[in-house]
């Protein structure tokens, strides 16, 4: 299914680990005269490329009251330009044996095609065209609004877990725009107009707000020549500063309950406000990444899994996750899905108890060594997946990091000690503002 939105639907179970792997070889970067950044990731094993353009704009950059406009524009980017008719973009990609798609998150909007390497020239011509020459037909805007409303119905309104996540983020980010859903609030989506989409486009879609990433069977020199030809002539825009409303005076301990009759398996989720990876300053994020793996990695070896699924059978599933790639403050999250007969209150108490024991007892050095080795190996496995690496660089570079931050990340992880992880854990669990949510069935709420 295309026009996927990542991050807002099932972020719940997204393995943090999967995105922390990277290889440092054969990555080249440079910047065009007009300010467009370019990253080339070489993989010559098969004659294919992934061509991606990432914009440093997303749902967290939307004007007040226009939630969903970044994502709506993403859909409308597949419509007409001054010289190409609606749908021609995807038709040309398909006729060339390629696949194309796009996705929106809070900090970025990205477009990509996967094609034979000798079609890269054509892909750049198409993508550069819609960066500068989008034209929106009012009737098509109206039809596409229905598509995003159906998308919201399918991915959010039909899924109590997704609705719970939405309510959760509203509390975790009461003022910061990470608290609005990427897809948008339904009432605001219904009011999104052609003018709203064009205003967002004019403001943010420009080469100096974009990153070109090409991964696959190409050389940096080939990419440079093509990029200068197609993207080089586009004029840079004057960009607004990327500042967002802040959460000041965040409550230290918020709680809420979300009931839905369609919930089959209740659980408790708790998130702590946590620092993200910053350019040149990734040490604390590295400690938190390792902490998440230690607490919530594989159930049979992680602290939460062992305590709640193995040593006792209090839970059917317990985990922790942390995603450090984010422009602004991120979250460190714990989840506990209790076994039958264990209440959510007890499940929350179980989390508290396991974390308290962990803070007292510390980290098993053997487990720490295994996790370090897993990180090392994940760099080898990551080299098998050029698209995945392209995506990692795109996320990083739209979230305030630079190429060198991605490349030094394995060293930062390697340099992290058990003491560093414990210090990060003490700070997080003692001081960070937190939200605790119960996802329950309607029956419970009525009781």
């Amino acid at each position: 299914m295309r026009k996927i939105i990542i991050a807002w639907c099932s972020a719940l179970f997204m393995p943090v680990f999967a995105f922390s792997a990277q290889a440092s070889g054969a990555v080249t970067s440079f910047t065009l005269q007009n300010g467009m950044d370019v990253v080339v990731i070489e993989d010559h094993r098969s004659p294919a490329v992934v061509h991606m353009v990432w914009y440093r704009t997303g749902a967290a950059d939307e004007p007040l009251g226009k939630s969903g406009i970044a994502h709506f524009l993403e859909h409308l980017m597949f419509k007409e330009t001054e010289t190409r008719e609606s749908g021609e973009f995807s038709r040309i990609v398909e006729e060339n044996g390629g696949n194309d798609n796009a996705f929106t998150s809070w900090d970025y909007t990205a477009y990509f095609q996967r094609v034979a390497a000798d079609r890269l020239d054509l892909m750049m011509a198409l993508e550069a065209d819609r960066m500068a020459n989008l034209r929106l037909n009012p009737a098509e805007v109206d039809t596409e609004r229905n598509v995003i409303l159906e998308e919201r119905a399918q991915r959010t309104d039909s899924n109590p877990g997704a609705l719970f996540n939405e309510a959760f983020r509203q509390r975790a980010y009461p003022n910061h725009p990470y608290g609005i859903p990427i897809i948008g609030w339904r009432a605001e989506m219904e009011g999104l107009t052609r003018a709203d989409a064009l205003a967002f486009y004019e403001t943010y879609y420009a080469p100096n707000n974009a990153i070109l990433i090409v991964a696959g069977d190409v050389t940096p020199d080939e990419v440079r020549v093509l990029a200068e030809t197609h993207y080089g002539p586009l004029p840079p825009a004057e960009l607004p500063p990327r500042t967002r409303a802040e959460d000041t005076a965040l409550p230290q301990d918020q709680r809420f309950e979300f009931a839905d009759e369609r919930v089959a398996q209740p659980y408790v989720m708790r998130s702590y406000r946590a620092p993200e990876r910053d350019h040149g300053a990734q040490a604390e994020a590295a400690a938190l990444s390792l902490l998440a793996e230690i607490l919530g990695g594989a159930p049979s070896t992680s602290v939460l899994g062992r305590a709640l699924q193995f040593d006792t059978q209090r839970s059917v599933f317990a985990t922790a996750y942390y995603s450090g790639i984010s422009l602004d403050d991120t979250q460190f999250t714990l989840i506990n899905m209790p076994s039958a007969g264990v209440s959510l209150e007890e499940a929350e108490a179980d989390l508290d108890r396991v974390i308290a024991d962990f803070l007292e007892n510390g980290i098993d050095p053997e487990q720490f060594a295994r996790i370090k080795f897993l990180y090392e190996a994940s760099e080898i496995y990551a080299r098998d997946n050029a698209s995945g690496r392209a995506r990692l660089y795109g996320m990083a570079l739209t979230s305030g990091l630079e190429v060198e931050d991605v490349q030094t990340w394995p060293e930062v992880i390697e340099a992290t000690t058990i003491e560093d992880v414990m210090a990060a854990a003490q700070t997080l669990f003692a001081n960070a503002p937190r939200v605790t949510g119960y996802l329950t069935t309607a029956q419970r709420a009525e009781n």
Binding site: S46, L149, D384
Partner: protein, 440 residues
């Protein structure tokens, strides 16, 4: 350990569009091990690991009478302790080698995927061999996995896609295993004993039914030795496989009331086997109707009218009943319009075939996209294991695009007339659709 996120596929049958991939450029070697097992290998030494995909034909179809879910549960237990190691010891050993193992059961097959670093491949293979030949099925592990499966089953009862698929299968496949959920039911899972799990285990892994694909940093000789080590101790034969399922749905529409703002629609007809002479015309036809973004259904429902976020169809080449299936979701207020439109489009295609332009476009896409499926060692190992299991010849890769290119407009029209018969279609709708009711 069971994954708590269940994969919601069309109806969980193997889908050709996912398993038939092959790559025009890769070189496959046929390897025969010293003990006579065969495997296909794509050798590539550029990254120091190997991906293996090992498939045993049979899958959850082999559940014995009254023991539905036993194979699924058994598969989930394979990584919960083997040989001298209990569940935690086994997981620690696997992590200590940074190997990745996954064990998955499907209707027709059990698939074991592994990634092993070159630096410790022998040790990793020894662990995988233990999981295959000496699984412990410890009582505490059985109870833990049983609780996880019950949790999954509870979630499935609240998932509209799963409700649609299970309803469809129950109506379509009579007494065949395809008719019932392979994960079992609350009752069958509750009743399974360790003995049942052992029976499922003994039935599942016969070396005469294995297909093996490997890709990455390994030579043919090394692979032969590795395979013999992995399969050492498994039985050669297994119990009888099921008969063909048949598709005995009397046509019509079923509506399952479910409190959701959007209805899920699942529709299906008898499909076509891969060895049928009309298979490639049908393959191209499916692409034109519901394969991609520019396909007829997507264009009419989504692009022209905004009736859905997405609609797709696929040819399922499940071993015991090929099917042609489609699925979409539309808001309760608009779903009747979408269902009616699908009917109009299918009748038009059955009667008039497709256009020359559609055929040309589909062929260009299918032949152009084909080589791109060679997407890393993991993907290749899975692809070439699947090819063997489907009985495809090793030169299929070189010829596949020519089969697609050879399809004519008249062949597509003929196969459309043969397959696309809306009067025989079974449609399951889950939701609270306005203006739609059951017709059977």
């Amino acid at each position: 350990m069971m994954r708590l996120i269940t994969q919601i596929g069309a109806i969980g049958l193997a889908c050709l569009l996912h398993i038939a991939p092959v790559q025009a450029e890769i070189q496959i070697q046929e390897v025969t091990s010293p003990n006579g097992h065969s495997a296909w290998l794509v050798e590539d030494h550029s990254i120091p690991f190997v991906a293996l995909d090992i498939r045993f034909e049979g899958g959850t179809n082999l559940d014995e009478e009254g023991k539905r879910g036993a194979t699924y549960m058994m598969t989930g237990l394979l990584e919960e302790g083997a040989g001298a190691l209990d569940a935690q010891g086994f997981a620690q050993a696997v992590q200590g080698l940074a190997a990745e193992f996954s064990f998955a059961s499907y209707r027709d097959t059990i698939a074991i995927s592994a990634k092993m670093l070159s630096e410790n491949r022998d040790d990793a293979a020894a662990l995988l061999h233990d999981a295959l030949t000496e699984p412990r099925f410890d009582t505490d592990a059985i109870e833990r996995v049983r609780a996880q499966i019950q949790s999954i089953l509870a979630s499935q009862t609240q998932d509209p896609d799963t409700i649609a698929a299970q309803t469809f299968n129950a109506l379509a496949f009579g007494d065949h295993p395809y008719a019932s959920p392979e994960e079992g039911t609350t009752d069958t899972i509750a009743a399974l004993t360790r003995e049942d799990i052992l029976t499922a285990y003994r039935n599942a892994f016969a070396t005469s039914r294995v297909s093996i694909g490997a890709s990455g940093d390994i030579t043919a000789d090394e692979l032969g030795v590795l395979i013999d080590r992995l399969l050492e101790g498994l039985p050669e034969t297994g119990p009888a496989l099921p008969d063909m399922a048949g598709f005995d749905a009397s046509a019509g529409q079923v509506v399952i009331d479910y409190p959701t703002p959007q209805s899920v629609v699942l529709f299906g007809l008898e499909g076509i086997a891969m060895d049928d002479p009309d298979f490639f015309p049908a393959f191209v036809l499916n692409e034109i109707i519901g394969g991609g973004f520019r396909a007829r259904l997507m264009d009419e429902l989504r692009v022209q009218r905004g009736l859905t976020y997405g609609v797709g169809t696929s040819l399922s080449t499940a071993d015991w009943q090929p099917m042609w299936l489609g699925q979409f979701a539309s808001s309760n207020e608009r779903v009747a319009e979408a269902v009616a439109l699908v009917d109009v489009i299918l009748r038009d295609i059955a009667e008039n075939g497709v256009t020359e332009e559609e055929l040309t476009r589909a062929k260009r896409y299918m032949t152009g996209a084909y080589p791109l499926r060679f997407d890393g060692n993991g993907a290749i190992a899975s692809i070439i294991a699947g090819m063997q299991q489907s009985g495809m010849p090793i030169d299929y890769i070189a010829n596949r695009n020519s089969y697609v290119d050879a399809v004519t407009l008249a062949e597509v029209a003929a196969v459309a007339q043969r397959l696309i018969d809306p009067d025989r279609m079974l449609t399951v709708i889950v939701g609270q659709p306005d203006g739609l009711s059951a017709t059977r």
